[in-house]
Subunit: 296 residues, 2 copies
């Protein structure tokens, strides 16, 4: 058996699965202080004989290779979690090898491996929730440079007549600052799920998300793009984004899979389980890699 955790800001989704990647049990635990939540997570897993555990974690989390604080939550706005190393704590509690990746990296991996999207060489998963994040699945790996990407913080063009200043504490009007759930709530005074389908918020939202999607296409050319997160539950939004993306690309350097935009730019298929499926897959593949390199 392998364990999987999707560590989120409001809940921890814990699951146990087989080496074939099938989930056999799932449990949700509320996110409170680390000293309260992590023992409950450990208790859940103690009932199983685990070979390894995968953790898809909210962030920012230090994933720099060789860093002495690898796996530690750094400048997270959840102050009581700053400095916590979820992965290391659970490894110590449970005595099993534990492997961490970002929450959005886990969602990307889960969708690619278990979402029924067919064989993909590359896939970008974008989540539009309280914040905006993205992870690139690329040839069996989650892409990372000297740090894991923070793609939500790219610059985009301002939508015509949008005078909202922007909600990102670091960059003001980056993509996350203009199009996250936080930005929507600050701009319109209510959360996105309370805005009607014909509200002017949605074409503005689509403008920003389309700029993000186009930027990621021209930079990464993934084989598929998945738009997840709470904001994408607005049923009209995906269609608006698709329209905007095709218009922006304007036919310039648009190869095969992207022209079929309705199959190219899609919603996640595993719903709330993308992340935990991905964390399970991560545990299995990292465990196998360790077996291949004795002593590491």
């Amino acid at each position: 058996m392998f364990g999987a955790v999707e560590a989120g800001g409001t809940k921890f989704v814990c699951a146990v699965g087989t080496e074939e990647g099938e989930l056999v049990d799932v449990r949700e635990l509320p996110t409170r202080a680390p000293g309260e939540t992590l023992p409950l997570v450990a208790d859940y897993f103690r009932a199983y004989d685990l070979q390894a555990l995968g953790v898809g974690s909210f962030g920012p989390v230090d994933l720099a290779k060789g860093s002495p604080t690898f796996g530690m939550l750094t400048s997270t706005p959840k102050l009581e979690w700053r400095g916590t190393n979820i992965c290391r704590t659970l490894a110590q509690e449970l005595g099993v090898p534990t492997f961490v990746l970002t929450d959005v990296g886990a969602a990307a991996l889960g969708e690619v491996m278990r979402g029924g999207h067919g064989h993909l060489e590359s896939c970008l998963y974008i989540t539009v929730g309280t914040g905006i994040g993205a992870a690139l699945f690329f040839h069996g790996e989650i892409f990372s440079g000297v740090a894991h990407p923070e793609m939500g913080h790219i610059a985009v063009r301002r939508a015509p007549n949008d005078t909202f200043q922007g909600a990102c504490p670091s960059h003001t009007d980056c993509l996350e600052g203009l199009a996250s759930g936080t930005a929507i709530r600050e701009r319109w005074g209510v959360p996105g799920d309370q805005l009607p389908v014909d509200h002017e918020a949605w074409p503005i939202e689509a403008h920003y998300l389309a700029d993000g999607v186009v930027n990621f296409i021209y930079t990464l050319y993934p084989e598929r793009m998945i738009l997840g997160g709470g904001i994408m539950r607005q049923p009209r939004l995906l269609g608006l984004v698709r329209e905007n993306v095709i218009q922006r690309l304007n036919g310039y350097h648009v190869p095969q899979p992207i022209t079929a935009i309705d199959e190219y730019l899609v919603l996640p298929r595993l719903g709330p389980l993308s992340g935990v499926y991905g964390a399970l897959d991560w545990a299995i593949r990292q465990y196998r890699r360790r077996l291949l390199v004795p002593g590491k």
Copy 2:
């Protein structure tokens, strides 16, 4: 011996080098019509016993794996070159295995392998000339998704008070549309090399390039970034871009190599030879790969 070509819009730089990557001869030929230029290129190489030839090509060039028109110039503004397959033509003329990559990909590879930058796991080379392009060196490869990146066409924030519409025929005000040499010439009526060092053009140019650099950092986190191309010859520009980048990042998720911005964001070190060094390296590494996979 190995051959290398940097195929550009105004000249073809041809070179011959050793398997150790040293250049032994370089020749420049003017870019005229394909039927005029390519025979001269072939003639140059016929004097040598080549094992393979590498071509760093202007574009856009079809580099989609398995495409029937692989290596062909597609929608290039140089109309008489549209539909030309430089790589295939030279392979047929010379009877040697010939390998193509983008011009900016070749420059990236040349700088990383021969530019004295030390060992790099990843490096983004950005060229700011008539157009804007970029290529990511990543773990020994030039990064590519379902197509080679067209990073010059990302969206950026408009500089305050810049009312220039934009010069990109496809996207109007993308990065290339606002910050390429073409954009500078259209905005100010003269080419960049005729604008004085204290001209208001440079802070505007730095604004756009910094947005591009920041977007590439948050998306790719390369270990180093190199800014090349004719526009970067303005001596004041690099410093302005560095200042802007640090200001934009505002300390959010900025790990080790990026904080030392003067060593992180640098000019190319091989001058006009980056591309031809890279094409030579490409010929050698692709030739060796083929040797490893008989029958391919």
